[in-house]
Symmetry: C2
Subunit: 472 residues, 2 copies
């Protein structure tokens, strides 16, 4: 096969990188579970009709066909009712989660708190250089009919805790930016504007295209006057770390443009409550930033975006919000709130910035040397004893000279080599070599000592590969 083996948009990691990814995912799972979230996984596919019900994303879906069906008559299959449903790969974890909740509503206890860490796929053009397959880590809380506002406070705090735990591995500090749709929308309506979705989409582009261009859009596409457009920008310029700061700033802009508190009051209260709780529980990690709009039109309350401090150029690494109408079976609606981390995107960029240090690329702590192939069973027996006590161990692949076996360990990054007992013998020159017991050699320091297969342990730092912040 002569053609290139790599496929653009489908990232794959080397073993050492996978160790980092694994450590990141294990840490996230731990944080989410400690906060009482249950894990679920959903199937990779959904009927196309469901994937498209969210709108806007139709271009990004991968459709599935069975090879057999392609070769033969595509239409024959479509006569059976189940087969007639065109399947596509999910492009996020929110749409499948909403479907899972509806499907299993009778078996779940609400409010249902779930986390989900899975691959998603987007049928991007290959030439765009975007990821077409990537891992997301989502948390959501849903409840039937009503969802208390305090869950909108809890979700970003769980993510703040999740990112705080990731700092031990080398992930930079996070800052979560929050806004509230009811605040922005109420303000726009108070100004007399009506194309709310259009305004939100334009505001969402602020960082990309800048203020003057956004004003043009607001005037040209959403029918705003120059003054109304400026008011939208003034509101979007507000950032605050405390509730008092936020209230003062919003009231000032509101007063300047004559927007009544009645229009945006509920949203402002929700956002100040969020800030207040955040300041108490995780000071500095959450700030109000009123330019956060989120492109998607299904958000109805709080909206979130997170950036890494000092790495703002990476863009948003985690985002989400409250949605009131996403999961509905027609008779019952399940409002929810959630956030999603783009794990693959985050890692690919942090790999490029070399923020991680991995102590070794293999799990193995000990290589048991082999004296000769006839006595390999004795080396296997030592490995068995070590593994029984949870020590990651390999047996040398061949009974090469010890120097070569040590080199093999070194090439793989294995810190220790174990030597089996050898009997006393007489060298060709007549000198005596005494019998030795089991020996363990730290090949980094060269230190060697007698060891017992039933009791020897590596240091805690050497037991498993360690992922830590790179020193630079």
């Amino acid at each position: 096969m002569s053609r290139s083996l790599a496929l653009s948009g489908f990232p794959e990691w080397l073993p050492a990188q996978r160790l980092v990814e694994s450590a990141v995912i294990d840490s996230l799972r731990h944080t989410f579970a400690v906060h009482g979230f249950s894990e679920i996984e959903t199937r990779a596919v959904e009927p196309l009709e469901r994937l498209l019900s969210k709108g806007e994303t139709s271009k990004e879906v991968y459709l599935l066909h069975r090879l057999q069906e392609e070769a033969g008559t595509a239409s024959a299959e479509k006569s059976s009712p189940d087969a007639a449903r065109q399947l596509g790969l999910h492009f996020d974890l929110t749409v499948p989660f909403a479907r899972y909740v509806l499907e299993n509503a009778g078996k779940l206890v609400f409010p249902f708190r779930r986390f989900q860490i899975q691959k998603v796929w987007r049928g991007e053009r290959p030439q765009d250089g975007r990821f077409r397959e990537f891992t997301q880590a989502d948390i959501d809380i849903v409840a039937p009919e009503e969802l208390a506002a305090h869950f909108e406070v809890e979700i970003p705090l769980v993510m703040a805790a999740a990112f705080e735990a990731l700092q031990r591995l080398g992930v930079p500090e996070v800052r979560i930016l929050v806004n509230n749709r009811r605040l922005s929308e109420g303000f726009y309506r108070g100004l007399g504007l009506t194309d709310i979705d259009g305004i939100l989409r334009s505001i969402d582009k602020l960082d990309k295209i800048g203020g003057p261009k956004v004003i043009e859009l607001l005037i040209g596409e959403s029918g705003a006057t120059a003054e109304q457009a400026q008011a939208c920008l003034d509101l979007a310029a507000i950032t605050a770390t405390t509730a008092a700061e936020l209230e003062q700033a919003v009231h000032q802009v509101g007063g300047k443009y004559g927007v009544d508190q009645g229009d945006y009051g509920i949203g402002l209260t929700e956002l100040t409550n969020l800030l207040q709780s955040a300041c108490a529980q995780a000071p500095g990690s959450i700030i109000a930033d009123l330019k956060i709009a989120r492109g998607l039109d299904y958000y109805t309350g709080s909206v979130y975006e997170a950036v890494l401090v000092g790495h703002e150029d990476l863009g948003s690494v985690c985002s989400g919000g409250r949605y009131d109408n996403l999961a509905s079976d027609g008779s019952k609606t399940y409002p929810g709130v959630g956030m999603s981390i783009g794990v693959s995107r985050l890692l690919s960029r942090l790999f490029a910035k070399e923020v991680f240090d991995v102590s070794r690329p293999v799990p193995t702590a000990v290589l048991v040397a082999v004296n000769d192939e006839e006595t390999r069973a004795e080396s296997d027996a030592v490995a068995y004893e070590l593994r029984k006590r949870g020590i990651p161990t390999e047996v040398a692949p061949s009974a090469a000279k010890f120097g070569k076996q040590i080199k093999y360990a070194d090439r793989r990054g294995i810190p220790y080599v174990w030597f089996l007992p050898s009997p006393a013998f007489t060298r060709a020159d007549g000198s005596e070599v005494p019998a030795t017991d089991h020996q363990i050699k730290d090949i980094r320091s060269g230190e060697q000592a007698t060891a017992n297969p039933q009791t020897w342990e590596p240091s805690a730092a050497d037991w498993w590969p360690q992922v830590t912040p790179a020193a630079h």
Copy 2:
């Protein structure tokens, strides 16, 4: 949306079942890592040409199309060289692993020991009731040009250790059945037969269709005489737990039909060596069973199949073998040996047999009660303290009456409810209720005690949900 939400062939688990799956996967990851296997993941898709290069499986592949491409002109896209490659979802983890090894050969250290736990997809007809998406857990060892025979001994022993560890969760004991292609093939050739692949495929059907039908096939399709066909069946009937037993049985059948040891000797030696090592390291878990043929034609040495003791009706739960020619870039070949567990299939059947007991369906150990919404922050603060020490904690969703909050915990299976201090007060009838400190209530026993948020801990068994063998 009125149509059914479930899709046949795409299993999904409820949270308690996912807890079991997670515990199984974590246990497998641990065992594999303790044996020095590095984890990798590969992309879900491969070019169709690569998926089909293994043969036989063409009917089971899911092809991908971008929705955009469907809608417009499908051919326009195909002019770009990368886009021209038809992509399909992988149907196993061996084909992608072979490609990964070729692609990254320069960055890997050989022998490369890897494990991989991922979903795979097969485009089965929906009406067949087979899984179309399922999780596999694979281990393989590959090396350039040569792979020592002792790795064929190691792989089934690692799987035996993996299944032994799973017994703690409730998975029944495993028995790994081994055979050697060189032994069977040498024997068939010694009989004067030439359609080796055909004979292997027929022998593979023994359990399904029985001896007489297999004899018919051997005679009708592979050109065997009645005596040759009977010889094949006599060989396939051999099972042995020790090397001596195996040698005696094979020599007896060989002698009876005049097949020379020179024809099957290498295969027999490899198989007796495997049995010998297995008896020393994991007595009873591995037995020789000469009817094991494996349908796939790329196996060249040892072949393995595993069944659960007492649950043989489930069929093979884990299988694999040695392959010499699967990974090749034209100039260099990477022989390998591996085994694969069908995790979803195994679990769906063990769920049906109710072999697992899950102590609770949610991670949460403690529900912190809320006195009233105004003081929710105080409950949040207690939860924060408990989580800081790794105790899975939720705060009550609403400040309902305590009875209702306890009922909520009970419905979710949360064992403990935490109550915050309350001041002394006087009841309407004049009686005094004294002030209380923080209280923890075990809602199973009703026991309640004073507790300190900074020091209280649940019992080890209550800390996380436990998966154990069901008592029956």
